[in-house]
């Protein structure tokens, strides 16, 4: 199971774009109004910093994933303990994404289908993908789904050019101020910070030395497209309307109307979006299963898929309502990112440096 750099790039880009474009635009606009695009860029910078930290740390331990080098650095028990917050975070994330996806499809397309059936279909598919394809299968799928998603975004922007009203993006800065812009930049940053999964994935790369450029480019691509979507949403709806919409990008696609002929394109976009969600879900199924296996030294990680997949499904099912989804996202920003993306990697990095010292001397 080896990944190429291009696959790594597309994995990072696909799994980050797919949720951030859907969920992070309108919260940012609610807080930072027409300057939300600045927040996206600021959030992107934080995403870069996190990515740099985790990839740098992983590259100090070539061919070892988080579960292995944490045990090496912190000792067996502490190392195992350190992996727990990660697994919790990834399971919650996967369940949350699955539920959001199913709720949306239920809302827009299949309104008389029970939500759990939509989720079950997705879970079945991702079990198949993960068992048969493994990480390289997921990587190859992202090589297809990623470019299609990006192409769909670009086409939807182009078709909306006629709907643009430039004055919506003004005035610059005065309405929000740096405080609001900074505050609005943290939620998207927490989505870009999702790249701490690279702590595991870098070890699968065929040429681990080249991991940094591919990862940073992947995050950059996500930031650029989330930024562009935010700008388009602002230019077409204006900050007042955009802040009220739950899925502003989706509404943007529905607004396309060229000569009263090209309209109602939302269905294509949902299709493409489902590709991305599928890639993301399969990826996290693989991530949780393989890390549990490595941490517990179980040779065959595939067996653990039969534990992870039902767990993700159960988490998604027990989420009672929209309010809880928001609560989970809050948990993600306030606990998961500080702990898993910044705290533990920093500790591990310091320990790595300290341990290296004697050998150098």
């Amino acid at each position: 199971m080896k990944l190429t750099r291009i696959q790594l790039f597309w994995i990072v880009a696909t799994i980050e774009i797919v949720m951030a474009v859907w969920l992070r635009i309108s919260p940012a606009i609610t807080t930072a109004r027409q300057d939300a695009w600045l927040s996206m860029l600021a959030g992107g910078l934080m995403g870069f910093a996190i990515t740099f930290l985790v990839v740098h740390l992983s590259m100090l331990h070539p061919n070892e994933s988080l579960a292995e080098f944490s045990q090496k650095l912190l000792g067996r028990w502490l190392g195992k303990l350190a992996i727990l917050p990660y697994l919790t975070a990834w399971f919650i994330l996967a369940g949350d994404v699955l539920r959001t996806f199913a709720d949306f499809v239920h809302l827009i397309l299949l309104d008389s289908t029970p939500v759990w059936i939509i989720m079950l279909l997705m879970v079945t598919l991702m079990i198949y993908m993960t068992l048969n394809g493994g990480l390289s299968g997921i990587g190859r799928f992202c090589e297809i789904a990623g470019p299609i998603t990006v192409a769909a975004l670009i086409v939807s922007f182009l078709l909306n050019l006629f709907n643009i009203e430039w004055h919506y993006i003004k005035p610059f800065y005065a309405d929000s101020g740096w405080r609001a812009i900074a505050e609005a930049s943290y939620p998207p940053a927490s989505f870009f910070g999702e790249s701490f999964m690279l702590l595991v994935i870098v070890s699968y790369l065929d040429k681990p030395r080249k991991a940094m450029s591919a990862s940073l480019l992947g995050v950059a691509a996500s930031v650029i497209f989330v930024f562009a979507s935010t700008v388009m949403v602002l230019l077409v709806f204006g900050p007042n309307v955009a802040a009220k919409l739950r899925f502003p990008y989706f509404m943007l696609v529905r607004t396309i109307d060229i000569f009263n002929f090209i309209q109602n394109l939302d269905i294509f976009v949902i299709f493409i979006w489902v590709f991305g969600v599928f890639a993301k879900m399969s990826f996290y199924l693989f991530l949780t299963s393989s890390e549990m296996a490595r941490s517990a030294r179980i040779a065959n990680w595939r067996k653990l898929v039969w534990f992870s997949a039902p767990l993700i499904f159960v988490i998604a099912t027990v989420i009672p309502n929209e309010n809880t989804i928001e609560l989970l996202q809050k948990l993600w920003r306030l606990i998961v990112i500080p702990v898993c993306a910044i705290g533990i990697p920093l500790i591990l990095w310091i320990v790595t440096l300290v341990r290296k010292e004697p050998t150098n001397a």
Binding site: P171, G238, V241, R254
Partner: protein, 384 residues
């Protein structure tokens, strides 16, 4: 053996899943709403009228006659209710097909409802997941939305399509629901909606535009006639073309200019009493000339341009005065302009903007250019 069984199971699963039959919704089970009309009936209840397409009547096509001939291409059903969807239930009771909102192109608001305020009714049009914001929104001047929906149009099968095209035909950009919502939620821009009226011969007529007050539950403040609306839209930036007719000396005979490429520029002088200068520009082709002047000659052309500009300037200034004094609502977006260009100053102006607006000193300057004198030189009748 095991493999065959697996393949069979997977095919069975695929067959049952991919057809989507449990969520089946065929077009022949749907009633496509193409226009919605909101009214207040005589008892003061909300009444929703929906124009529903009758596809069978369209199948006859342009050849006329055939099976579909003679049948109306739409029906209008109406029902009362507490809000839009509640009335929708009432509509559904009269239709054997499920109401389908995604093809709605036009939303009409009856005058009586507009006077009562439509602020509380705007939510459904974006919340409902089947709904979208591509609809155009208009006010019915002096009548009920229901009656306009029942008009049998001349060219297209549906009045809803026509009402959008009418806006383009009179030279404006169609006013969409999303713009309406953005104006209604903005800090200082009062919504200016296109208006239609019913003529005695049961036809519709573009009637200019209606001013709603967003600070007062989007209540109707008053109307502008077609000419005034064109000027107002020119200032807002929603007018693309305009035909201007004005008397030109000597003799004060009429001359018409078909102006395209309209543009506007605002200038604000922010003293303690802000002064706003509106500069409007347009260029076009002379389409009718009953004067003795010859537009191919430079001197005459200059004179024509000057006098046309002067006359238009007076008309626009009169409109601005009327809106300031009579309606007292900032439909031009001057406040939004200050907000965009001088955001810090705007913070102090905003609370008193509504009180300030009628007292603002607004100067209008119009500059029209005749790019082309048309196909003739001097007027034909002067040679006769």
């Amino acid at each position: 053996m095991n493999r065959t069984l697996n393949v069979c199971l997977i095919i069975l699963l695929l067959v049952s899943v991919t057809t989507g039959c449990w969520n089946l919704r065929e077009p022949d089970q749907l009633a496509f709403i193409i226009a919605a009309g909101l009214d207040l009936n005589d008892e003061g209840q909300l009444e929703i009228a929906s124009q529903i397409a009758v596809p069978a009547a369209l199948s006859g096509g342009e050849n006329g006659g055939g099976g579909g001939g003679g049948k109306k291409s739409f029906v209008v059903v109406s029902g009362t209710g507490k809000n839009v969807m509640d009335a929708g239930q009432n509509l559904q009771a009269q239709l054997p097909r499920i109401l389908f909102y995604a093809h709605r192109q036009t939303i009409l608001i009856g005058e009586r409802l507009a006077k009562n305020g439509v602020g509380s009714l705007t939510d459904m049009f974006i919340r409902n997941p089947k709904s979208e914001m591509r609809s155009s929104i208009l006010v019915v001047k002096g009548g009920l939305a229901k009656d306009v929906l029942s008009v049998e149009p001349t060219f297209d099968p549906y009045i809803s399509t026509i009402l959008v095209r009418e806006q383009i035909a009179v030279g404006m950009k169609p006013y969409y629901y999303r713009q309406f919502l953005s104006d209604a939620l903005s800090q200082a821009m009062q919504p200016l909606l296109p208006a239609v009226a019913l003529t005695p011969g049961n036809r519709y007529r573009y009637a200019g535009s209606a001013i709603l007050n967003k600070d007062d539950n989007l209540k109707l403040v008053g109307y502008l006639n077609a000419k005034e609306s064109a000027y107002a839209n020119w200032i807002i930036g929603r007018q693309t073309g305009l035909s201007i007719t004005a008397p030109v000396s000597p003799g004060n005979e009429e001359l018409s200019l078909n102006a395209k490429s309209l543009s506007k520029k605002l200038q604000v002088d922010l003293q303690d009493q802000p002064r706003i200068t509106v500069m409007l520009k347009g260029a076009g082709i002379i389409t009718e000339n009953n004067t003795s002047l010859n537009p191919t000659k430079n001197n005459d052309l200059k004179r024509i341009e000057k006098e046309l500009s002067q006359a238009t300037q007076e008309a626009v200034q009169a409109l601005v005065d009327k809106v300031q004094k009579q309606y007292n609502t900032d439909i031009f977006g001057f406040g939004e302009f200050i907000h965009r260009e001088y955001p810090n100053r705007w913070k102090t102006l905003r609370p008193k903007w509504n009180a300030m607006f009628p007292r603002l000193r607004i100067t209008v300057k119009v500059e029209l250019k005749c790019k082309d004198p048309g196909q003739t030189n001097s007027a034909i009748d002067s040679m006769l």
